[in-house]
């Protein structure tokens, strides 16, 4: 059975390929690809200059409400900025910010097919021998993101560029606002952490970097040799302190119960790889601040996930599951980072 979106999608793509004929979409199916956008894969076929052509593509469409509200223009720009670089990302093709074509804004990208992303599969035993190799690739790529020049990438044209001593405040203000707007019940642990973060600000960022914002195990495509073929889910990308990105992946939530950074290697090994790749330093006091901040940010995401489900803007079961699974676990991560557990 064909998906009801297929003819609408084909009609849209036909407008973007003026030299093509017989544009058709088939095999459209929704896949798990993060809860902030609806992700579909499909096969595009068309004829051009008398030749039949085909390509496997990805559609990322905004849901009615999300656990994080982000600008798809920024996500699209971040992917485009790194395409063809040492940071593997899919090629972005078309961005559509109006609702007319598919009911909500969306973008279309190439599908990087044949690889895996799920942590459950990665930690099932079959990949144990390549986990150190994967860790090396993971934090080397993150180091490359940190080392990149946002101005040279053109990203300062679409992303705000805070002063080096203002990066922390901008992010903390943003996520505290999420709590103010979205929390469905009081959050005494996260609120205590926020007060501590405001009272003990970190030193200024050593440079202004691109921050992926959700660089963790589960958001990249890996193979059986431990290589990484695509870094995904750039919807929280922004400019800021490079230690923010390093610390997000060290959030105890992303250890998946294995007691290792990202479930892969000891934390000191991950930091050493990142330092080598980025050429940057890691001030332990600053890293601790960003680690606690990222636990608060994580809680802000789960609070927003619960809110989106409660309000009915998005009743995707993944939102309720994320809230039930992670709200208390994230509180315990905050306690752990604060030395209370």
């Amino acid at each position: 059975m064909s998906h009801p979106l297929e003819p609408q999608l084909a009609a849209y793509i036909a407008t973007r390929l003026p030299d093509a004929t017989d544009v058709a979409v088939s095999g459209l199916e929704r896949i798990s690809g993060g809860a902030s956008r609806e992700t579909y894969r499909f096969r595009l076929t068309w004829r051009q200059s008398g030749e039949a052509r085909a390509r496997r593509l990805i559609l990322r469409r905004d849901p009615p409400a999300s656990l994080i509200d982000t600008e798809r223009r920024i996500e699209f720009a971040a992917y485009r900025a790194f395409h063809g670089s040492a940071v593997p990302v899919p090629e972005m093709l078309w961005l559509e910010e109006a609702d007319d074509a598919l009911g909500h804004p969306f973008f279309i990208a190439e599908e990087i097919a044949g690889f895996q992303a799920a942590p459950a599969l990665l930690f099932a035993g079959g990949y144990d021998a390549v986990l150190p190799r994967l860790a090396d690739r993971k934090w080397t790529i993150l180091g490359e993101i940190a080392r990149a020049d946002p101005v040279a990438l053109g990203l300062t044209e679409v992303m705000a560029a805070p002063a080096l001593d203002a990066c922390w405040r901008r992010e903390l203000d943003h996520w505290e606002h999420i709590f103010d707007a979205d929390e469905a019940e009081p959050q005494p642990i996260a609120r205590a952490a926020i007060r501590w973060l405001r009272t003990n600000p970190p030193p200024p960022a050593q440079k202004l970097s691109v921050v992926h914002g959700d660089y963790r195990t589960g958001n990249f495509l890996f193979d059986e040799a431990g290589d990484i073929h695509g870094v995904l889910d750039w919807e929280m990308a922004h400019l800021g302190d490079p230690l923010e990105d390093l610390a997000w992946g060290l959030n105890p939530i992303w250890e998946f119960g294995r007691g290792l950074a990202g479930g892969l290697v000891p934390q000191e090994d991950a930091i050493a790889i990142w330092k080598r790749a980025s050429g940057l330093q890691v001030d332990p006091i600053a890293l601790h601040w960003w680690l606690l901040f990222n636990c608060v940010k994580g809680q802000g995401i789960w609070v927003g996930s619960a809110r989106a489900f409660i309000d009915g803007g998005n009743r995707d079961p993944v939102l309720a599951y994320a809230a039930w699974w992670l709200l208390n676990a994230q509180d315990r991560a905050i306690l752990k980072v604060m030395g209370k557990l």
Binding site: E29, F309, P317, W324, N328, D331, L341
Partner: protein, 127 residues
Amino acid sequence: MTPQVPLVLGEMAALAMRNAGPDVPDGERQTALTLAAMLLGVAAEVWDTAAEHLVRENRAVAALLGDADDESDLRLTALRAENARLRSLLIAAHVAAEQAGDRAREDAIWAELIASTERRKLSISSI
């Protein structure tokens, strides 16, 4: 625990009805039903433990604050409302203790917050 179980169960029932129809692509049906099944498994645990956790937590926080714990209504909705009231007061008490430099009071509040996460732990929790 938010969102609350009745809301989630109602939505899962609606999801099951939608996916019983012939117009849902197979891949989407498989994804939706797998996640719904996982959620229903957690719902059973959340539902079974909710009253126990709320009563214990409300009593503990009320004792810490020297506040009267209202147990005149033991429905989950009433227990949750009382829990939200008490935890809001706990945040205010925590701020006051920090500003007064009252370390003993701070430690007592942290002890209750740690205990609250032990009460709320689910079997699927990794921390």
